[in-house]
């Protein structure tokens, strides 16, 4: 299950909905709005998504994880809209019989989402400036996977 949400993500409910009675290993990742990025003080974030394609690409990433690793369940939810400091931006949860698969798949999903799912992040700084991440004029892709 991959979904975009304009409403705040509830990690407790997300986790609860993915529990598997067969037990085993559950690994989850939470990405939260940080108070700084490259030395600048962040006050808030805005996430914008190309919803139609983001949901397709997110679902493809989850399907790839299921194909590559032996898993019982995978899920990912990504927030859109304006988020304050500490708010949950992305959640990934993976259940597997063995922890190796759960860790590796959880990492795979968040890494792929960050570089493939059409979601954009605009940071608002304490000095009044704001900026779309990874879109600097002379930007290259080297900064893509650095944050979070």
């Amino acid at each position: 299950m991959f979904r975009l949400s304009r409403e705040p993500l509830d990690p407790v409910a997300l986790r609860q909905s993915r529990l598997d009675p067969r037990g085993g290993a559950f690994v989850s990742f939470e990405g939260r709005v940080r108070d700084q990025n490259e030395g600048r003080r962040v006050l808030a974030l805005e996430y914008e998504a190309y919803g139609e394609l983001a949901e397709k690409e997110g679902a493809r990433i989850l399907a790839e994880a299921r194909a590559k690793f032996t898993l019982l369940d995978v899920a990912c939810a990504h927030r859109t809209g304006r988020l304050g400091l500490g708010e949950l931006a992305v959640w990934v949860g993976v259940t597997a019989a063995h922890r190796d698969a759960a860790f590796t798949a959880c990492r795979y999903i968040i890494d792929e989402c960050k570089v493939r799912v059409p979601v954009w992040k605009k940071e608002h700084y304490s000095d009044g400036a704001s900026e779309w991440l990874n879109s600097a004029v002379c930007g290259d892709h080297t900064g893509l996977a650095k944050d979070g």
Binding site: L53, H78, C113, V115, K121, K122, W132, N134, V137
Partner: protein, 80 residues
């Protein structure tokens, strides 16, 4: 000449000043259309940093444009 529907996101929306537009163009491919728009609106992102999507799916730059296509140019993503 064909008419396509454009959607803009993030930096490209800011630089274009609108979120959607209907455009009649002679551009044969997604890449050709991006180069023209870039010149016209001063988009700062070169094509190496942008991907094209046609009708809700990623497409190569040389994908042909057809009348009625929905076209989205995708700046570098930054989720999570």
């Amino acid at each position: 000449m064909k008419t396509v529907q454009l959607q803009y996101f993030a930096l490209l929306r800011d630089q274009r000043g609108v979120a959607t537009e209907s455009l009649t163009t002679t551009a044969a491919t997604a890449g050709e259309l991006y180069e023209r728009l870039r010149e016209q609106h001063g988009f700062t992102l070169g094509p190496a940093h942008v991907r094209a999507a046609l009708n809700g799916e990623f497409a190569p730059w040389d994908a042909p444009l057809r009348a009625g296509d929905t076209v989205v140019f995708i700046p570098p993503v930054a989720g999570g």
